[in-house]
């Protein structure tokens, strides 16, 4: 192919793909500012005639989305912080600390990765019911306080920590916890950032489990509230788009700001397989 033609082809295709990727999201934002009923016309409009924030007001005042936004933030935040601590400690231990059964446990956990979480859903529900955690924040946070995937990510990265560093610290008389918090965590900070980001996004976007566990209106997270709103208000396109914007904007912004960490975490998780 002649060079200018090739350049045009490659960039044209990329632009086309970018358009297809971005269009639904842009349209979603555009419709959210349209007047109720405006989107259900032929031909479908691209821009609002007179942009209005009525849908957002309706969303927050009547549908109580603000509370759901808070719930999503609180839950995702709690899960991220707790799981970060537990996964980091365990990941480091699996990488650098010797204990009996380490290799077998590791292999067992790898095997467990293959099992889809849904096999556990119903017994987990019954277990949480007995613990009184159904329909509470705890029902979401407690089972998510550690994850095999998170442990693996940290371990993968922690393997590269030089042993001499740890040995020197031990010889200086530092305790294991001190070594962990003073030396290891700073060294692990890039992967911890990635794990934190991945966990936060995963928890924010989680749908099936919060759908099952959180019954109360006041506790629902954004995806669950949005799904129930969509079944009830199937006809209010503009309202639903506003709800989608509120759900998607935070994670999209987070991703754009911290792309590097997200991609790194993704690759680390894939490569370890």
């Amino acid at each position: 192919m002649r060079r200018p033609l090739a350049v045009a082809a490659v960039n044209g295709l990329l632009a086309g793909l970018a358009l297809v990727s971005a269009f639904p999201l842009l349209w979603m934002a555009s419709v959210s500012f349209m007047a109720p009923g405006e989107a259900a016309t032929v031909p479908p409009p691209l821009w609002p005639q007179a942009p209005t924030t009525a849908n957002y007001r309706e969303l927050f005042v009547r549908a109580g989305m603000l509370r759901c936004l808070f719930n999503s933030l609180a839950l995702a935040g709690a899960v991220t912080l707790l799981s970060l601590l537990f996964n980091a400690m365990a990941g480091y231990a699996f990488a650098k600390l010797r204990f009996t059964g380490r290799a077998q446990l590791l292999r067992a956990m790898m095997g467990a990765l293959v099992i889809p979480a849904q096999v556990a859903m119903m017994p987990l529900f019954l277990l949480l019911k007995h613990m009184g955690l159904v329909n509470t924040y705890g029902g979401i946070v407690v089972p998510a306080m550690a994850s095999i995937f998170g442990i693996f990510l940290v371990r993968q990265y922690a393997l590269a920590i030089p042993d001499e560093l740890l040995r020197a610290a031990r010889m200086d008389g530092a305790g294991e916890l001190r070594i962990f918090f003073r030396i290891v965590v700073p060294l692990l900070s890039p992967v911890l950032a990635s794990v934190a980001l991945l966990t936060f996004l995963g928890s924010w976007n989680d749908f099936m489990w919060p759908l099952i566990v959180l019954n109360d209106d006041r506790l629902q997270t954004l995806p669950v509230a949005l799904a129930s709103l969509s079944r009830e208000h199937a006809q209010d396109t503009e309202l639903m788009m506003a709800g989608s914007v509120v759900t998607v904007l935070p994670v999209l912004a987070l991703f754009v700001a911290l792309q590097k960490y997200y991609i790194r975490g993704l690759l680390l998780g894939a490569v370890k397989q």
């Binding site: 090739a6 490659v10 960039n11 990329l14 793909l17 990727s21 971005a22 269009f23 639904p24 999201l25 349209w27 979603m28 989107a39 031909p43 479908p44 537990f86 996964n87 400690m89 365990a90 204990f99 467990a112 293959v114 099992i115 889809p116 979480a117 849904q118 096999v119 556990a120 859903m121 119903m122 017994p123 987990l124 019954l126 277990l127 089972p143 306080m145 550690a146 095999i148 442990i151 305790g175 294991e176 916890l177 924010w204 976007n205 749908f207 099936m208 995806p223 949005l226 799904a227 396109t237 709800g243 999209l252 987070l254 991703f255 754009v256 997200y262 991609i263 690759l267 894939a270 397989q273």
Partner: protein, 298 residues
């Protein structure tokens, strides 16, 4: 013994959480699948009966389960190659030296991956609307008649496949991109010196070197696609005519709509078996392709 004790201190919390909230429920799930636990049993445990393998036999004799299985396999068989193809294609485009602003494009193409599935399913439900949807509008400009995407049993699953592809292709694209960047430039230079065309370089060098990545991506994508649930839940409620009921949707309805925990657990176990078998097959095929790939790359 102190290092050992410290080590256990570090792993104990995480292992406890995983053990109590994952391992034990999984085992209990297998056990539940052997009973007829339902809403009556929930009210009074005396109504619980041990069913042995009856649930499995019942499920395998239930037409809706086979339909769910078929729908899920259709989704996987059509969706995974489509997604991987698009990911590979866009990775190759991004990796090309001719591409301008690759960083910008990478961000935009990846953005759908991080969006909340429920939110974009709601958006796409409106894009697929028969009369007011953008998809039919664009098709109409090209002269194609309006398609009742979510109302026609023949097009509902393809609509969901399109949504899933749009949402996921960025994920594998990034993995492919990293793998492409890992291929040493010298191999290409040597090939160009030998007079190989761009297409020959692609087929003889790039693709074989990507085989392990392809296997990895295939397994990851397939495992994710088997767990189809949110799209049918939001967009079609399993319809029309149950053409978008997936195995997980079936499990959700049995388990959390009708409270037949026994049957639902059986469905989950069968799904696990299916996923395990498929990933094992792909992994075996990949291992078989390994030595050949290494020879080609050398």
């Amino acid at each position: 013994m102190k290092p050992q004790a410290a080590a256990w201190l570090f792993v104990a919390p995480a292992l406890l959480v995983v053990g109590v909230f994952f391992v034990i429920p999984v085992l209990a799930g297998f056990a539940l699948s052997l009973t007829d636990f339902d809403i009556y049993a929930l009210a009074d445990p005396a109504n619980l009966r041990f069913a042995g393998l009856d649930n499995y036999l019942t499920l395998l004799a239930t037409p809706l389960f086979w339909q769910a299985l078929g729908n899920t396999l259709y989704f996987v068989a059509a969706g995974v190659p489509l997604s991987i193809g698009l990911s590979l294609g866009s990775a190759l485009l991004l990796h090309s030296r001719l591409a301008r602003w690759p960083g910008f494009y990478r961000t935009v193409l990846f953005a759908p991956v991080v969006t909340t599935l429920v939110a974009v399913a709601v958006v796409w439900r409106y894009l697929f609307q028969t009369r007011y949807g953008m998809v039919n509008h664009v098709l109409g400009q090209a002269g194609v008649g309006p398609v009742d995407w979510l109302g026609d049993p023949r097009t509902a699953m393809p609509a969901i496949i399109l949504l899933a592809t749009w949402k996921n292709f960025g994920y594998n694209m990034v993995i492919f991109l990293a793998a492409l960047q890992a291929i040493p430039e010298d191999i290409y230079q040597a090939a160009r010196l030998d007079g190989a065309s761009a297409r020959q370089q692609l087929v003889r060098i790039t693709l074989p070197m990507l085989k392990p990545t392809l296997a990895l991506v295939g397994i990851l994508t397939m495992a994710g696609y088997f767990q189809l649930f949110a799209e049918p839940y939001v967009m079609t409620q399993g319809g029309p005519l149950r053409s978008t009921v997936s195995v997980l949707y079936f499990m959700y309805e049995e388990g959390f709509k009708w409270w037949n925990f026994g049957i639902a657990s059986t469905a989950a176990v069968l799904l696990f078996a299916l996923m395990f078998a498929s990933t094992w097959v792909i992994a075996r095929a990949a291992r078989g392709a390994g030595p050949r790939a290494r020879q080609a790359g050398a």
